[in-house]
């Protein structure tokens, strides 16, 4: 074999091992979710789907799921709207334009644990009650905003401004330009951004943990169960959560690939 062929073979073997590392823990989780054993772990004691019926029968997961979906949808819409306005604004020239990008990135650059306690202290001091809509929603919008912006901004800055100018020259008002020219073109990118934003909110944990009260989101519900360490249906919950996130994000991925501006 030539040196190049060795290199290719070595890379392929390495990639096989890497993907094994990536998927073995997930496969373990799936296998254990069907394991008929009161303790979480091996050996495999027989096949059962009772953990799934346990998970779905318990009202707690359904309640947590409802909270997560509501918060996810609302924060995805608000964050995407804010990101869209910002991306549109950045196509104009104005004073201090340079500060917009660094400010948008603050929530990403801030270490997760600090973002969590930041809002805990802030809300504690300002006297607003902790809870889903008063604290978790703002925390999620703040966290999702930079991701929505980073997804949307490249698509919009690539958009040919001449098309809008042409529409304006023909007498269209700015709002009409948006609804009739810009919006149809960026719609796939917007939908993709909404879906990605939703999954980021849906999976959010550390920024939620500190400001939540009695109404739990799904990751918090999962965390409480993990901390209790007595529940054999943990793998089943993990698999359910993973499936939901993957399906939604997968849809977002497919839509972003179809985006005509690519």
């Amino acid at each position: 074999m030539t040196e190049g062929a060795w290199q290719t073979a070595a890379l392929r073997i390495y990639a096989a091992l890497f993907y094994l590392f990536l998927y073995v823990p997930i496969l373990v989780l799936i296998v254990l979710s069907f394991n008929d054993s009161p303790a979480m772990g091996f050996p495999f004691m027989g096949f059962t789907t009772k953990w799934y019926s346990n998970v779905l029968a318990g009202g707690e997961l359904v309640a947590a799921m409802t909270n997560s979906v509501l918060i996810g949808v609302v924060s995805a819409f608000i964050a995407t709207a804010l990101a869209l306005l910002t991306s549109l604004g950045l196509r104009h020239r104005f004073l201090m334009k340079g500060v917009v990008f660094p400010i948008i990135l603050i929530p990403i650059v801030m270490p997760g644990i600090v973002s969590g306690v930041l809002l805990l202290v802030y809300i504690g001091i300002s006297g607003v009650p902790y809870g889903l809509w008063t604290a978790v929603l703002p925390a999620h919008i703040t966290w999702v905003l930079p991701f929505a912006f980073l997804t949307l901004h490249p698509q919009i800055s690539r958009f040919d401004y001449a098309l809008e100018e042409a529409a304006m020259d023909l007498g269209a008002k700015p709002f009409e330009v948006f609804t009739r020219v810009l919006f149809p073109i960026i719609r796939p990118a917007l939908i993709a951004t909404l879906l990605f934003s939703f999954t980021i909110s849906f999976d959010e944990f550390i920024r939620t943990l500190f400001v939540i009260s009695v109404d739990r989101t799904v990751p918090i519900y999962l965390w409480v169960l993990i901390m209790d360490r007595v529940v054999p249906f943990l793998p089943a919950i993990g698999v359910v959560l993973m499936t939901i996130s993957m399906l939604i994000a997968g849809a977002g991925f497919v839509l972003s690939q179809r985006s005509p501006s690519r």
């Binding site: 804010l82 104005f94 990008f101 990403i108 270490p111 600090v114 306690v117």
Partner: protein, 290 residues
């Protein structure tokens, strides 16, 4: 009004909502945290003492110094391990073409579309006493007793951090490798460059923007980690994130917790000051060339 001025006003009005939002929910909270870090927790609640006592405690008490050093060490090592494991995979992805490449990229993304709580937690049934590794080794007769040191220590934190955040390393490296013009590599080979020479003198330098971007992201996430060390680290793998959380959730010392958070923010700011001199933010986060 002239067109430039209208355009400028329109621009400001459009970016204003998100800027105001972040002022209220990101910038002002940091100021509040800074204030809180100068107050003192007493038996009767929090006193607004406006002093640096909490910072003195952090510097003088060896417990905090140890944890801070360990956190920096874990974050640096996790970043380097992640780079070591991710770089060859990025090279593999770049060597793939068309549909195969899309498939492997999708397989790379798929696990990352689920919560990192789930992804950290999956290592417990792999590394634990009744986990995959121990039970496999025992059923093969290689060991008689489960190996205890697989989990609840610093090593398990490395496994967890590399696993949970490797996409943030693979992706930027893949993107910068993908941008290298194949003709450049061909020229290097035609001029007699051996594979390792081509790698060291051409591929590696050209991939540096992606390497930096990945390293910054992984370091950033690792240094503020809470879930992974909490689940897999045991007492030996405790990081600053866990200590900060304890101040708020258990010992109820908000001012000290705030001061520790400020120290963590400063650590991250120093990183950005160093790396930001080499690369712009846009390059780090959007992959644009500075």
């Amino acid at each position: 009004m002239d067109a430039a001025k209208t355009s400028s006003i329109r621009g400001i009005l459009l970016v204003l909502p998100s800027m105001l939002w972040l002022l209220v929910f990101a910038i002002i909270p940091i100021v509040v945290l800074l204030c809180m870090s100068t107050w003192t927790s007493t038996m009767f609640g929090i006193e607004r003492t406006w002093d640096l006592k909490n910072y003195v405690t952090i510097v003088s008490d060896s417990v905090y110094a140890t944890i801070l050093l360990r956190t920096a060490r874990i974050a640096v090592i996790a970043t380097l391990l992640s780079l070591l494991f991710s770089y060859p995979l990025a090279m593999f992805l770049v060597s793939m073409k068309g549909r195969t490449r899309s498939l492997f990229l999708l397989l790379m993304f798929l696990p990352f579309w689920s919560s990192y709580v789930v992804r950290s937690f999956t290592w417990l049934p792999v590394l634990g006493r009744a986990g995959l590794i121990n039970q496999t080794l025992m059923s093969l007769g290689i060991i008689n007793e489960p190996i205890e040191w697989l989990v609840f220590n610093e090593g398990a934190v490395y496994v967890g951090l590399v696993y949970v955040y490797t996409l943030f390393m693979v992706l930027p490296i893949f993107l910068s490798l993908d941008r290298i013009d194949p003709q450049v590599l061909e020229a290097a080979r035609d001029l007699g460059g051996k594979p390792y020479q081509v790698f060291m003198k051409v591929i590696w330098p050209l991939s540096l923007p992606g390497v930096w971007s990945g390293c910054v992201m992984v370091f950033l996430i690792s240094v503020g980690a809470y879930v992974t060390p909490q689940l897999l680290g045991g007492t030996q793998g405790t990081m600053i994130g866990n200590v900060i959380a304890t101040q708020f959730l258990n010992t109820n010392n908000w001012p000290l917790g705030s001061a520790l958070s400020i120290v963590l923010i400063v650590m991250v700011a120093v990183l950005f000051a160093i790396v930001g001199r080499r690369l712009g933010l846009k390059q780090l986060f959007l992959g644009e060339r500075a």
